[in-house]
């Protein structure tokens, strides 16, 4: 136990820092600030055929072609109409730039170790490695995401292809 606790502490100790919070289907999520490259408003997405649904397409960001995924669809949430608050966060995933569409971007928070909880376990069947932890700020729980773990390798490959 102690090890686990220490492991957890180490884990949580490693998680403290600045997080970029955003809202997705009335839930607040957080994202490591270092992973986020840029936040942009919604642009025209050029859809790429023969790609999974959650891959919306590609965008042209200052000459660079970046694939865009809809996080809602990835998480299996119902699709929502894009509003003026909908933004695209450009993240760096294992060296690959991609954009994720979120409902709104809130703020940059500096979360301390004390406010982070390790991710909950819902049994061994459900995979929760994409959650870094649960942040607790002013009574509000924000799910801190591990962006690297959201997309599987398959997805990554597809993404690469799409971007090519």
């Amino acid at each position: 136990m102690e090890t686990q606790a220490v492991l957890e502490n180490e884990k949580t100790g490693a998680m403290e820092g600045k997080y970029l919070t955003f809202v997705l289907s009335n839930e607040e999520y957080g994202l490591e600030i270092l992973k986020a490259k840029e936040i942009i408003g919604m642009m025209d997405i050029t859809s790429v055929p023969q790609t999974p649904k959650f891959i919306k397409g590609v965008i042209n960001l200052r000459g660079k072609v970046i694939p865009v995924i809809d996080l809602r669809l990835k998480f299996g949430m119902p699709e929502k109409e894009y509003t003026k608050e909908t933004c695209t966060i450009v993240v760096d995933v294992q060296g690959l730039l991609m954009g994720i569409v979120v409902d709104t971007v809130s703020e940059v928070l500096d979360i301390v170790e004390a406010d982070i909880e390790p991710p909950p376990t819902f049994g061994s069947n459900i995979e929760t490695n994409f959650i870094l932890g649960m942040g607790n700020i002013k009574g509000k729980v924000k799910i801190l995401l591990n962006i690297d773990k959201i997309l599987s390798s398959v997805d990554l490959a597809t993404l690469e292809k799409a971007a090519a």
Partner: protein, 815 residues
């Protein structure tokens, strides 16, 4: 037998008898009057005119004598005319008249008288003519004749000659007057001295010599001046009195010499100014001979001396002449005065004039002698005149005594003498005869007048007798004829009266029936009036309805218009609300833009935070800035949200406003609809009202027709009433005519009226008339029919009237 004759015959007979009486009377009068008139005629045409003519003749004689006297005294022609007139207009005509009457005279003595008168008138006229002819002629007064014919001519010769002598004397004195003489002498002296001065030393000749020697122009000027003075003085000298021929020629010579000097001076001047002048030329120029002038001066001087020496002679001569003038003046004066006194004495006969004449004549004789002594001093003219004077005086001298003698005698004025001694006695003789004739005529006239009176008396008695006879006969005849005429006329009168009463009854019946007709018609008219008035009311109400309807229609129109206006306003409101919405939409858009900007700024801030995080330690400050920027962005986002909320609210309000206006529009439309319905209803009402009015007017027309018919009925009833009135009037007239006739015949009226025939008016009950008439007719008139008979007649007539015109009120009801 008298009664059987015709009316005309009766009248004729009666009038002819009256006429016969009249004729007899008139003839008798004429015969008597004729006798009277003969006598009066005699008086008028014989006696009176004769008497008148003798008076006229007497007047004529007196007039002629007066005119003659006037002629003698005043010698105006009008007296001659008057005398002639007296003879022509009075004496001669009256003589002629008397001669004409003399044929009829009854007294032979008067004829003899007339003969004497005629004879003497001839003589009288002759005397008058003689007197008239001589009067005012110079022969009438022999003394005056001598004066005019003999004395006066001589006297005028005397006066003429002495006057001639006096005039001549004055002329001589004037010529030889001492003063004139003195003046002439003095004048000569003065002028001669002046000429001498101008000519001699310091004068013309001296100046000329100086000029020749020295040549100075001032000398030429003085020469010119002296020459002018000399010429002037010579001119004056020529006009002096008593200039002799020698003197005149002397003056001319002097003038000539002066002229020579003047022209020489001029010549010298030209020579002096010329360049080629030689002394010899000058010498020639100045050679002038003075000797003629000097001789002339001598002549003038000697004349002057001669005149001076005559002085003494003139003085003595002048004094003596004055004496002679005095003598001549005395002679003339006394001659004139003497003549005047002769005249005065002859005219007046006053001795003082004779004495004055003798005084003057004595003086005349004395002065005449004086003049005779000085006859040698007279001029030839005067001597001739004096001779004639002496001759005339010799002739004149014996005449005054002769004249005076005649003046003293009785035969001084022949006209007066003859008047007294010849004309007057003859006139007296004539007058005596005329007076005798006059007296005789008066006597005869008296006798004739007495005869005339007697005859008129006889005529008077005769007239009275005839008058009486005539009256009696006329009365008798008149009575019988009148009776014969009036009986039949009275009978006719009675019949006429009956007839008129019948007519009257009938007319009263007609009147009553027409009265009832008229009353029925008037009732009808009254009810028609009521109907008409109620129709009027209906018409007025219908009119009122129509008016109200029109008002309602107009109001509905107004409402429609108002609703339309409301709709319009609604539309405008909607438009404005739309514009509000548009502007708030725009505002929302802008807010959205702001919101977007805020969002983008937020993103930018987040990006900045990311970069700051990436920067690590170095980016901490930047992270703060990014945080602030994000805060700012959030704030603007907040503001934008609030604003958009507000805009939403206002949009909602605008929407609700629009809804409300729509509701309002709906209600307005409803109103419009209702108004349209109302309008249509009102129109319906209007049309029905019109129909109503039409119906009423038709009814009105019908009523009017009925009214007119009723009026016609009433008019006809009136007419028949008036016709019956007329009939009544005619009956009345007939009555009056009958009355007149009765009056003419019987002297009184049968119908009790004063003859204008007025019957009682038919509006009264006709039964009143009947009893009165019956009563009247019962008065006794000697020609009236029996009373009973008349009453029956009247009753019968009353019944007859009703039967003739069977009318009752029942008939009128149907009408």
């Amino acid at each position: 037998m008298f009664k059987d004759m015709k009316l005309g015959v009766k009248l004729g007979l009666g009038f002819s008898m009256v006429a016969l009486i009249l004729v007899v009377a008139v003839l008798t009068s004429i015969w008597q009057v004729g006798k009277t008139s003969t006598v009066t005629n005699r008086v008028m045409t014989l006696r009176a005119p004769t008497s008148q003519s003798s008076l006229a003749m007497l007047n004529g004689i007196n007039h002629s004598l007066a005119a003659l006297r006037g002629w003698i005294i005043l010698s105006k022609d009008k007296f001659k005319k008057e005398r002639a007139k007296a003879w022509n207009d009075e004496i001669n005509p009256s003589l002629k008249t008397m001669k004409t009457f003399a044929v009829n005279w009854t007294n032979p003595k008067n004829v003899e008288r007339l003969r004497i008168i005629e004879e003497n008138l001839k003589k009288f006229n002759q005397f008058q003519i003689e007197i008239e002819d001589i009067a005012q002629t110079v022969d009438n007064t022999p003394a005056l004749k001598i004066l005019f014919v003999q004395a006066a001519p001589q006297a005028s010769i005397l006066i003429g000659n002495i006057t001639k002598m006096i005039d001549a004397e004055l002329k001589v004195s004037m010529q030889d007057s001492w003063n004139t003489y003195q003046g002439d002498v003095a004048r000569r002296q003065e002028l001669l001295l002046r000429i001498k001065a101008d000519f001699g030393y310091g004068g013309l000749i001296h100046k000329f010599k100086n000029y020749v020697l020295r040549g100075k122009p001032k000398y030429l000027e003085s020469i010119r001046a002296l020459h002018l003075s000399i010429t002037e003085t010579i001119g004056e000298y020529s006009s002096v009195n008593g200039l002799t021929a020698e003197e005149k020629s002397a003056l001319a010579v002097v003038q000539e010499t002066a002229n020579k000097y003047m022209s020489a001076a001029d010549h010298v001047s030209t020579l002096l100014t010329g360049e080629d002048t030689m002394v010899s030329d000058l010498d020639k120029a100045v050679k002038i001979d003075d000797s003629p002038a000097i001789a002339g001066f001598e002549v003038l001087n000697s004349r002057y001396e001669a005149l001076v020496s005559e002085k003494g002679k003139h003085m003595t001569g002048a004094v003596k002449r004055k004496e002679i003038l005095g003598m001549m003046a005395d002679v003339r004066g006394t001659t004139g005065l003497g003549l005047a006194n002769i005249r005065a004495y002859l005219l007046s006969g006053d001795e003082k004039f004779r004495k004055l004449f003798e005084k003057f004549w004595a003086k005349n004789t004395t002065r005449f002698a004086d003049l005779k002594k000085n006859v040698h001093l007279l001029t030839d003219e005067q001597k001739n005149a004096f001779k004639e004077f002496s001759d005339a005086r010799k002739k004149f001298n014996p005449l005054p005594p002769k004249m005076f003698k005649i003046r003293g005698s009785l035969e001084w004025n022949l006209a007066n003498r003859w008047l007294g001694t010849k004309a007057a006695p003859t006139a007296f003789k004539i007058k005596t005869q005329l007076d005798a004739m006059q007296a005789n005529q008066v006597q005869l006239m008296a006798t004739d007048i007495k005869e005339a009176d007697r005859l008129t008396g006889v005529l008077n008695k005769l007239e009275w007798a005839l008058l009486f006879a005539g009256i009696v006969l006329s009365a008798v005849i008149g009575f019988f004829i009148t009776r014969g005429i009036t009986k039949p006329i009275n009978r006719i009168i009675a019949e006429l009266t009956e007839g008129s009463s019948q007519v009257s009854a009938a007319s009263s019946q007609i009147s009553s029936s027409s009265q009832s007709l008229a009353s029925g018609a008037s009732q009808q008219a009254a009810s028609l009036e009521e109907t008409s008035s109620s129709l009027e009311q209906m018409t007025s109400m219908a009119d009122q309805n129509a008016k109200n309807t029109r008002e309602a229609a107009s109001l509905a129109n107004g409402a429609t218009k108002t609703a339309e206006k409301g709709l319009e306003a609604m539309q405008r409101m909607t438009e404005s609300i739309d514009s509000i919405k548009k502007s708030s939409d725009e505002t929302a858009r802008i807010i959205k833009t702001i919101d977007e900007i805020a969002f983008q700024t937020n993103l930018l801030a987040l990006n900045a935070a990311v970069e700051a995080a990436r920067a690590g330690e170095a980016g901490k400050g930047f992270a703060v800035v990014a945080e602030e920027v994000r805060n700012l962005a959030q704030r603007s986002a907040e503001a934008a949200r609030t604003t958009s909320q507000m805009i939403e609210e206002s949009q909602n309000n605008a929407d609700s406003g629009v809804k409300v206006s729509e509701e309002v529009a709906v209600s307005l439309n409803e109103i419009n609809e209702n108004v349209k319905k109302v309008t249509s209803l009102v129109n319906q009402v209007a049309s029905s009202t019109d129909e109503q009015a039409r119906g009423v007017s038709e009814m009105n027309q019908a009523v009017t027709q009925m009214d007119s018919i009723t009026q016609q009925n009433a008019a006809s009833a009136e007419e028949s009433a008036s016709a019956s009135e007329e009939l009544n009037a005619q009956a009345g007239q007939l009555d009056s005519v009958v009355d007149d006739l009765a009056q003419v015949v019987g002297g009184r009226s049968i119908n009790g009226s004063n003859g204008n025939g007025s019957r009682p008016h038919l509006s009264q009950d006709t039964t009143d008339v009947m009893p009165k008439k019956q009563h009247e007719l019962h008065e006794p008139a000697h020609q009236a029919p029996p009373k009973k008979q008349l009453k029956e007649l009247q009753e019968a007539k009353t019944v007859k009237a009703d039967e003739v015109i069977p009318m009752d009120d029942g008939d009128f009801k149907d009408f």
